[in-house]
């Protein structure tokens, strides 16, 4: 129930809101192309936030103009609000205007939409429009002619030959007929100034003057003044500037002028009297300045290393705000360059300070301004430097080079060297800027404590290393070794000598033994005889060949003899004798007659071997 009630109330309120009358009207029923008409939006009551519809099909000549009226009829007050636009029809056809929007009592309300029919213009109207247009064009042309005939802009430069960086003062001056009422002059288009860096003078309000040239009086004004700094060599040109000039001219009323009626002419003339019927109009036209060309020469080749392009006349000096500071305290170093010239090309020089100084990028204080024909003043570079470690340091002198325009020579100014005395500040902040991993590990460590014992005192006594004792100990084993070699050789020598002796006495011993054997032969002691003969042969072989008794075998004798190049026949003979002796030992009875021959054979073998083995 309650809901329905609220709904009813809502519907009532909405209906009431729509009841506000918001209407759009047009003041003409018949509209031709070119006609002007007024569209009015009116509301009874209050409204705000008026939003006009689009007038895209028309040309808006005026509006919106707003008016409000309050009426009291029979003691009842009514209020109305109107918004009106003046439009011109530009093409024929059917067009819709609206709706406009308005907020009234918190509701957005819309106006009605109007349909406007624009008819084809009549021939008479077309003619009139064309005439008006032609007359206007002609008037503009006439005015431009008059203005251009009476206005001229001239450019003067203080020089036409200049070095790169040398300032050139260019002045643009307007000359005009003294009676021409120029109301405004402004630059319409500036040329692209290739190859120049310019600095314009602020002329402020244009000052007009009267000048007489060749008997003619002109009203003149400087409209532009600039200093040009050429930046490249060659024939450079400064292209034309275009100036907008507004001039107020006297114009006759067109309507009267248009009439060809003789009477009307009479009246026209009468009313054209300047005191009566003339009107003034402002015309705008463009005046172009001539272009100028300047010969720019290269600077001489022998520029010093510190030259960066400054041309003019300069002086430079440097100073520090204090020479003594503690670590961590800021010191300001200033380099001041003063004079006249192209300051814009002066770059802050790099301060060549040890790495224990923190140097910040310089702050540039520019106190230069445009002078009569150059830029003058001073430029200060302020370097903040913060010393990190104590010591005595210097800020090396700074070379500043420029091309002196008066003497046409390069000049170099060397500023004074500054010395700095840095003492340890309160905070010992050693900059640790090159730490590697290993360093970082150690950073928080403190040094080890002192040693409590004085240790071994070195009192100039020679060290063990380069001493004679070192060499003795080092070479002792060498001598011991050499001695060992010597002893071994001695022993070998002795053995060799014994062998030699044996070899020499081999035959003698053998002969002695053979003689002994002979005795036994005569005694017929066969056993003993054989024993002595074989002993003699074995012994001879052993002595002659230096074979120890232990190694005495038939094979040994054979191989050693072969090594000594003994004839095979002799070797077999020797072996044969030895075999026979052996045989005789075991069967002595069979050898009876041969004993003498064995004896002889033994003597022969020994004799031959003695000859063979030397």
């Amino acid at each position: 129930m309650k809901h329905i009630f609220y709904s009813l109330v809502f519907i009532f309120v909405v209906n009431y809101a729509y009841a506000v009358d918001f209407t759009a009207t047009v003041d003409k029923d018949y509209i031709e192309v070119g006609d002007k008409f007024t569209v009015t939006f009116s509301i009874d009551g209050d409204g705000s936030d008026f939003k006009a519809p689009s007038f895209a099909d028309f040309k808006v000549l005026g509006g919106p103009s707003q008016s409000q009226s309050i009426q009291i009829i029979n003691g009842k007050m009514s209020r109305s609000l109107t918004f009106s636009y003046v439009l011109q029809a530009v093409k024929e056809g059917k067009f819709k205007i609206g709706p406009a929007k308005l907020t009234s009592h918190g509701n957005e309300i819309l106006s009605n939409t109007i349909e406007v029919v624009v008819a084809k213009p009549s021939q008479a109207k077309l003619n009139q429009m064309k005439q008006e247009k032609d007359a206007e064009t002609q008037l503009q042309k006439q005015a431009a002619d008059i203005i251009n005939k009476n206005i001229e802009i001239k450019v003067t430069t203080d020089k036409t030959n200049a070095y790169i960086g040398e300032p050139i003062l260019a002045t643009y001056k307007i000359y005009m007929h003294p009676e021409l009422a120029v109301t405004q002059i402004g630059i319409k288009k500036s040329p692209q100034l290739n190859g120049f860096w310019t600095q314009d003078f602020d002329l402020g309000q244009i000052q007009y003057k009267f000048e007489t040239i060749n008997g003619k009086t002109y009203r003149t004004a400087v409209v532009k003044k600039a200093i040009l700094f050429p930046q490249q060599s060659g024939k450079l040109s400064v292209d034309s500037y275009e100036f907008n000039v507004s001039v107020r001219l006297q114009v006759q009323d067109q309507k009267q002028k248009r009439s060809r009626d003789p009477f009307a002419d009479f009246f026209d003339n009468f009313f054209n009297d300047p005191f009566f019927n003339t009107s003034y109009r402002e015309f705008q036209t463009t005046v172009v300045s001539p272009s100028i060309s300047i010969n720019v020469k290269d600077l001489p080749k022998n520029a010093p290393a510190s030259f960066t392009g400054a041309v003019g006349s300069f002086s430079a000096n440097s100073w520090v705000d204090r020479n003594k500071a503690k670590t961590g305290e800021a010191i300001t170093y200033r380099l001041k360059i003063s004079g006249k010239g192209n300051f814009q090309l002066i770059q802050p020089p790099k301060l060549d300070l040890p790495p224990s100084f923190e140097v910040y990028d310089p702050k540039i204080v520019n106190n230069t301004k445009l002078g009569d024909n150059n830029v003058g003043g001073d430029l200060i570079f302020e370097y903040i430097i913060i010393p990190q470690t104590p010591g005595t340091y210097k800020i090396p002198p700074i070379d500043f080079s420029y091309f002196d325009i008066n003497s046409k020579q390069y000049k170099t100014i060397t500023t004074a060297e500054q010395s700095l005395e840095i003492t340890q500040g309160t905070t010992a902040n050693y900059s640790v800027n090159g730490t590697n991993k290993e360093d970082v590990k150690l950073l928080n460590q403190d040094i080890q404590y002192i040693k409590t014992s004085i240790g071994k005192i070195e009192n100039g006594k020679a060290n063990f290393f380069p001493s004679i004792w070192f060499y003795i100990l080092l070479l002792l084993p060498l001598f011991a070794w050499l001695a060992a070699i010597y002893f071994k050789n001695e022993k070998q020598q002795l053995i060799n000598n014994q062998n030699e002796l044996r070899r020499r006495q081999a035959r003698k011993i053998a002969e002695k033994q053979l003689k002994e054997a002979e005795k036994y032969l005569q005694l017929h002691d066969l056993q003993k005889f054989i024993e002595e003969v074989s002993k003699a042969i074995w012994g001879f072989a052993a002595n002659k060949l230096s074979i120890p008794i232990a190694n005495l075998t038939r094979e040994n004798i054979e191989s050693i003899m072969k090594n000594k190049n003994v004839q095979d026949q002799l070797i077999t003979e020797l072996i044969k004798v030895l075999d026979e002796c052996e045989y005789a030992r075991f069967a002595p009875s069979q050898l009876d007659g041969n004993l003498q021959s064995i004896y002889q054979k033994a003597i022969d073998v020994i004799t031959h071997l003695e000859e063979e083995i030397k």
Binding site: P354, G391, Q445, I454
Partner: protein
């Protein structure tokens, strides 16, 4: 009469004075006491007195360096740590403190890259005293020639072969130790190494006050002295840069 009295008094006084002064252990203990009381300036005075009297030991140098370190005189600290290290190259405390002191120096010099073998030899020869190498050389001399003697007398060919090769190897090792001992000794006796002790020192292009400044060094930077003209020395730093510096800016190790 009065004169004599004064004279006698003077003699007695100076005697007792001299007696106190000449006992190095006592002075050393006094200096250590000052150090533990954090009176580093007094401690430095005492240690230097010891050295002036001709008492030189690695420990005195080390303690003096510690006192300089505590007094924030990093240049002198590094100088004396280096002196101590020369006398006792393989002491851990000396090496650690030297390393810590070097961390506090300003100059960060990128050393020239060295051939790995020469760097290796340098490191080894600096790590021990020449005597240590000398003793090793002698030991290997005995081993080598002993083995060669065995080689001479041995009858078995395998024993002969083994003793010959091991003997020759030992002698090669011996020669290496002798060379290391010489190298180590040359570091110990070198008068070419120095340390910058002035807070900052400009290194000039020639031995002349007006010469161009090449670079700047700060206290504690180790230098190599190459040449000397009047009171100027030509020096080289680890990155190979050379220049001239006044003699009062550095001290030789």
């Amino acid at each position: 009469m009065k004169k004599t009295a004064i004279f006698i008094f003077f003699i007695i006084f100076s005697n007792s004075f001299l007696f106190a002064e000449t006992n190095p252990h006592q002075i050393f203990n006094e200096a250590n006491a000052y150090y533990s009381q954090k009176d580093y300036t007094k401690a430095i005075e005492k240690y230097e007195q010891l050295i002036k009297q001709g008492n030189i030991s690695a420990n005195i140098y080390y303690n003096l360096a510690n006192a300089y370190y505590r007094n924030n005189n990093i240049g002198k600290a590094i100088l004396y740590y280096n002196k101590a290290k020369r006398l006792n190259p393989n002491d851990d405390d000396i090496n650690l403190n030297l390393q810590l002191a070097k961390l506090k120096t300003v100059d960060r010099i990128q050393p020239l890259p060295k051939f790995f073998l020469s760097k290796w030899i340098e490191d080894i020869s600096k790590s021990q005293s020449p005597e240590t190498f000398a003793i090793f050389a002698i030991i290997f001399s005995f081993i080598g020639f002993g083995l060669l003697t065995i080689y001479i007398y041995a009858r078995k060919s395998s024993t002969k072969k083994l003793s010959f090769f091991t003997g020759i190897a030992s002698l090669i090792i011996m020669i290496a130790f002798v060379l290391l001992a010489f190298q180590s000794n040359s570091y110990r006796t070198s008068d070419k190494e120095g340390v910058i002790i002035s807070a900052s020192a400009y290194i000039k292009s020639s031995p002349d006050q007006t010469a161009t400044d090449l670079f700047i060094l700060h206290e504690g930077t180790e230098i190599e002295v190459l040449d000397k003209v009047a009171n100027w020395s030509k020096i080289r730093i680890a990155n190979g840069s050379q220049g001239w510096v006044e003699d009062n800016k550095f001290e030789k190790i």
